[in-house]
């Protein structure tokens, strides 16, 4: 699909539509939707911003490319004066005191926020069922999950309720729902976009990620949000990616894929066949394809979850009801903390906090947590070696098609294993894009750190090739 942003921008500039009617139409769709994608609607704010854009156009002033473009925000971002619930009981009435840097940059560019979007509570999940707002239903088949944790965001884009949405990706939370709903979803290089104002899940892999219907729209939104931010000292300065530069991909001569991902018994036979057929099409274009060795899926998943749980146990320790959140009073402060957390966290969130505290405890940290850190380093080294041999790595997004609503909650271990193909790239902090092509749940394109541009180039190449 072509760029929705360019198309709407032209329609607004040519006065074919008004921004108010556009925003109202999208708000109506979001309000009536039965996929449970919305936690709160930002109708008053959106309509007042739309009126300003219309006034500007009426006066004959030029508008920026993102001005008046409606978008959605996963409900783990701060937007001053609006609720930020993380789809949790604990924060169901919490009001953002400030605005996340990534969101502020979009507001400064004139984009219009429509809704805070449903997701797994605190990003804890791969199906968007772990939420107090009801399971998100898949855009293509509502009996299936929307994917997660940024499920509401991916479904809204797939259904055209938002032009683009901003998800958050810690272990696959943008890429997997993008794959399940047939849209594009990018996890940029860690640090390219500021995490300030994104509720922390696992700080060492948390990434802000755009979801959209075209590579061009991903590029536009990525450029706006990128950059060094004094409020997140892991950010780095990056060069803008030009529209023309991603139209050619002649420098991509070698593509790799992980043999063990495809030869695994856990992969759905159709996804395997479709993936291998894609590889043949790429070879037919004269590109060299190399099979690569990689860590076993269970090691990737276990390493990721060990570190993510340790980090979330630490990050979520601040949520005790003392300064904000749904406090439950008890006989002492300590008891109040415990009852507040017991009653307000979901089972999955509690499972992860407890797991994190287990591995951080004396006696366990050496053989689990520190070993997890060492494994992560080995994984990063393996990627560095791979990218000396290949330009990009191609992989399926998920081993299987989306499960039926209700199944993931019954078997958390199976849900963790479903992240097998996404978590490795998170641990490597690499740029990875899901494209809605190649297999039923899409393909992931990964490049070396800071090489987000190459990922977008290859996505454009595949758009015309497969």
């Amino acid at each position: 699909m072509d760029s929705q942003i360019h198309k709407i921008h032209q329609q607004l500039a040519n006065k074919e539509i008004t921004c108010t009617s556009l925003v109202q139409e999208k708000l109506d769709l979001l309000k009536q939707n039965t996929n449970n994608t919305v936690n709160s609607l930002l109708d008053t704010l959106a309509l007042s911003l739309a009126a300003k854009v219309d006034a500007k156009i009426k006066k004959g002033e030029t508008i920026g490319l993102l001005e008046g473009i409606p978008f959605g925000i996963k409900d783990v971002y701060m937007l001053q004066g609006t609720t930020a619930t993380a789809s949790s009981n604990l924060l169901k009435n919490y009001k953002s005191a400030y605005t996340a840097t990534a969101i502020q940059k979009l507001l400064d560019a004139g984009a219009i926020p429509l809704a805070k979007e449903n997701c797994d509570s605190f990003g804890h999940g791969s199906s968007s069922e772990n939420t107090i707002f009801g399971a998100v239903k898949n855009a293509i088949n509502p009996d299936l999950v929307g994917g997660g944790s940024s499920g509401g965001s991916a479904v809204n884009v797939a259904k055209d309720y938002t032009v683009f949405s901003i998800g958050g990706d810690t272990g696959g939370s943008v890429r997997q729902p993008a794959g399940y709903n047939h849209v594009y979803g990018l996890k940029p290089t860690y640090g390219r976009i500021s995490r300030f104002g994104l509720m922390a899940y696992a700080s060492s892999t948390d990434c802000v990620g755009p979801i959209a219907k075209s590579v061009e729209d991903i590029r536009i939104v990525l450029n706006v949000m990128s950059g060094k931010d004094i409020k997140d000292q892991t950010t780095y300065a990056s060069a803008e990616i030009n529209e023309d530069s991603i139209l050619t991909s002649t420098e991509i001569k070698t593509v790799g894929y992980f043999k063990n991902f495809i030869e695994s018994e856990a992969i759905n036979p159709e996804i395997k066949t479709e993936f291998l057929a894609t590889i043949e099409k790429i070879k037919a274009k004269g590109i060299v394809v190399k099979e690569l060795d990689f860590f076993k899926s269970d090691i990737l998943v276990s390493t990721y979850y060990t570190l993510a749980m340790a980090e979330t146990a630490s990050n979520l320790s601040r949520l005790d009801g003392s300064n904000y959140g749904n406090r439950i009073e008890d006989k002492s402060l300590k008891e109040s903390y415990a009852i507040t957390r017991s009653e307000n966290f979901s089972e999955e969130t509690k499972r992860r906090i407890v797991g994190g505290n287990q591995v951080l405890s004396q006696g366990f940290s050496d053989e689990i947590y520190l070993k997890g850190l060492a494994l992560r380093d080995s994984i990063s080294e393996s990627f560095e070696k791979d990218f000396k041999e290949v330009d990009v790595i191609l992989s399926p997004v998920t081993p299987n098609t989306p499960p039926k609503i209700g199944n993931s909650l019954k078997d958390p271990h199976a849900m963790y294993l479903s992240d097998a193909y996404t978590v490795g790239f998170s641990l490597g902090q690499l740029p990875t894009l899901t494209i809605p092509q190649g297999t039923e749940t899409g393909l992931q394109i990964t490049a070396a750190k800071n090489n987000d541009e190459l990922v977008l180039k290859f996505a454009n190449f595949l758009k015309d090739t497969i």
Binding site: S96, A97, S204, S342, F345, K350, V354, I368, S378, P412
Partner: protein
């Protein structure tokens, strides 16, 4: 100092127990072979350079930010923000 704390106390979650699903993940780590046994000897840290630290200054919050922080506070009495009884141990 050697007091043993169980995960429910460490997590401030009543009755919390380690879960089977998560323990299965940890078993894989215990049995994994890692070529790199020194987790601090790596090049993958996202450390900020000493030359690049931000200024050590207090940045005043805006009036609206302060107002929302007060609004979010769970309990207020006679103009004071109230917490439960403090820990006395």
């Amino acid at each position: 100092m050697s007091k043993i704390m169980t995960v429910d106390v460490l997590s401030s979650i009543k009755g919390a127990q380690p879960s089977e699903a998560v323990n299965k993940l940890f078993e894989v780590i215990k049995n994994a072979n890692s070529t790199n046994n020194n987790s601090f000897n790596n090049n993958h840290n996202n450390c900020v350079s000493l030359n690049d630290l931000r200024e050590d200054v207090v940045i005043e919050s805006s009036a609206i930010e302060k107002q929302i922080i007060i609004e979010n506070f769970p309990k207020e009495k006679n103009g004071y923000l109230v917490v439960s009884k403090v820990i006395e141990e």
